[in-house]
Symmetry: C2
């Protein structure tokens, strides 16, 4: 029997074991075809089924309204940092951005290289420990959209609610994609990589309001145009076959376990176990972030000293609780508890935290 650990990696990250085993079983000979799915034409019957089913499941599981399309595009959230302003910022319009941490900042950097972009709220002075309230976001004239990062993977903060502002939202959801119900009516476009809640690395999923595609920039190379990907059902060029296939399986797994409501409740519960371990530690464990903005995906915390943090990591490794080191840019510890992390994994970590504190108090 193969070994299985609890993997708290921030991404790429843990996937459902059932999904991995199913993919393994059919890897070399897909449905008796005498080929692997990854060897098949993307225009053929087998892959076409996989592709169209994954697209349909995306909309079904995330309860996406009819007037949105789903697009599969390679290049990760980083290429979306470019494509959003390149497509949406038509002459005379501006993009507003919230600087909420590493990812918000990344979107701003690339946005500025692609269009007229400004910072409408900046969390740097508070060391990125919270998200803004709607009334703190300063929008200027001719703003086409407000770009937000729904969850900052490194800082461990999330928007508890999506802000009510006077312009449509564009949301980078990379690290809390499909982990909670979202207000589609506020969005023009949503994007994120697969590699947290949805599958392996190598593909982004973009949801776009169809009506906005009539008024996007068209004088660009085709791969960079949302309208082209939409018109071709994300088969303008050879798609990322394997990530598409895997995410289809993950979506079926999500559906089978009860869908978005169950996933959302579990995320609150799993992260709640770790936050409780922090809150009940009399300050031994410290969370640097505003309680109202605590991420349900990435729980960041510190110990009394860096020495203890190192010891914690070593002993957690020995207990098969892996990848708990915080991002190198902020230090400390981070437990990423994405959709595929079992309840038992979060419980095991909470128990380990309590034990460690008792032994190293």
């Amino acid at each position: 029997m193969s070994k299985r650990v609890y993997n708290f990696c921030a991404g790429p990250c843990t996937l459902p074991l059932d999904v991995l085993e199913e993919a393994q079983a059919e890897f070399v000979d897909y449905q008796g075809s005498g080929m692997s799915l990854i060897e098949m034409s993307h225009r053929g019957k087998h892959y076409d089924e996989v592709h169209m089913e994954a697209m349909a499941l995306m909309k079904e599981v995330y309860r996406v309204p009819e007037d949105f399309s789903v697009l599969f595009i390679q290049g990760g959230a980083h290429l979306q940092f470019a494509m959003v302003p390149m497509n949406l910022l038509t002459p005379g319009t501006r993009g507003a951005y919230t600087n909420t941490g590493t990812w918000g900042k990344g979107a701003i950097t690339d946005g500025k290289a692609c269009g007229d972009v400004y910072v409408a709220w900046d969390g740097a002075d508070e060391n990125f420990t919270r998200m803004p309230n709607a009334d703190e976001i300063e929008l200027q004239d001719n703003t086409r959209y407000l770009h937000i990062t729904s969850n900052e993977t490194i800082g461990g903060i999330r928007f508890p609610a999506f802000p009510d502002v006077s312009v449509p939202l564009v949301v980078d959801m990379s690290s809390d994609y499909m982990s909670r119900t979202v207000p589609w009516e506020k969005f023009d476009l949503v994007y994120g990589g697969l590699q947290k809640n949805l599958g392996p690395a190598g593909m982004s999923v973009v949801f776009v309001r169809d009506s906005i595609l009539e008024n996007t920039n068209k004088d660009m190379a085709r791969y960079l145009r949302y309208d082209i990907h939409k018109d071709k059902d994300s088969m303008f060029n050879t798609p990322a076959v394997f990530p598409t296939y895997m995410t289809g399986k993950v979506l079926k797994w999500m559906k089978a376990k009860g869908g978005l409501d169950v996933i959302e409740a579990e995320a609150a519960q799993k992260s709640g176990l770790i936050y409780a371990a922090i809150d009940n530690s009399d300050g031994y464990y410290r969370s640097p972030v505003d309680v109202a903005c605590r991420s349900h995906m990435n729980v960041v915390f510190r110990l009394p000293s860096e020495e203890l943090e190192k010891k914690f990591l070593t002993e957690a490794d020995q207990a098969d609780l892996l990848n708990l080191k915080g991002h190198r840019s902020v230090g400390g510890l981070r437990a990423s508890i994405y959709n595929a992390m079992p309840q038992e994994g979060a419980q095991a970590l909470a128990d380990f935290m309590a034990d460690f504190m008792r032994s190293n108090g």
Copy 2:
């Protein structure tokens, strides 16, 4: 035991069976880690080894000179259609392109959207049945590079030799990547998708002459900049983990079978079997392309009637010789015999062609 067919698909395409079986065996629990490789941090030890080894093997197997770097970028050749002119066409410079078929034309379409691009040779009048000689290519002043498509997958033609011209070549090698020795001294940049000779879909490999990166456009989003990918060893963002892993295995397989010289000789031999079946058929099978430009990867041919072509396809399917239908834009038949197609597969097809002609002469 699982079934195995001969898959003549133009891409994604057949991969070595050994490679598929090896990947299957370690898919769920990678090297006893208790995780799949696709669940691992791209900054971790395991993936880092996979990534750096694949990059090193790319250069070793293709005999790439020291002063070139290899980049792994998502988005297929189509994103390269954009990135080449966006990076290389600095103000005042122009890109020359050869229109040699579907892919040459695609590069031109996107090139024109991204920079000052012109057609230096056009094969449309001859229905794309041959590649130009160097002296037919009309270069204009201030030409930064000549873009060529080394092998046209759909038309079934290749450059028998890379043209000697007065500017550096930029080459789309998608469909004959690493199938023959190439004159690196003529190139500034070479690109292509994995999904023919090198692995599953979802990643491009770019080889770029280091010195040209000093003089590329920099005021662009980071994902679109070659210099950024180079500086970060193609880990600027989360890489396409699974395609990188698979191509590493394919490269090891290529090396084990003797490397580029063996691959090149086999390609000539395998395609030679099919061309011989055509040439020895007294005109029953017809190849529309110039003999000197016959592709060693994609052999296109016609039968005396469309009815016979349909019958051929049906009976080939029954004989487990799959995906022989020509591209919908040109009709007829096409056998794609990439690196992983065994000699026995090409022989089986040649035998089938002879048998079919005898029965349907």
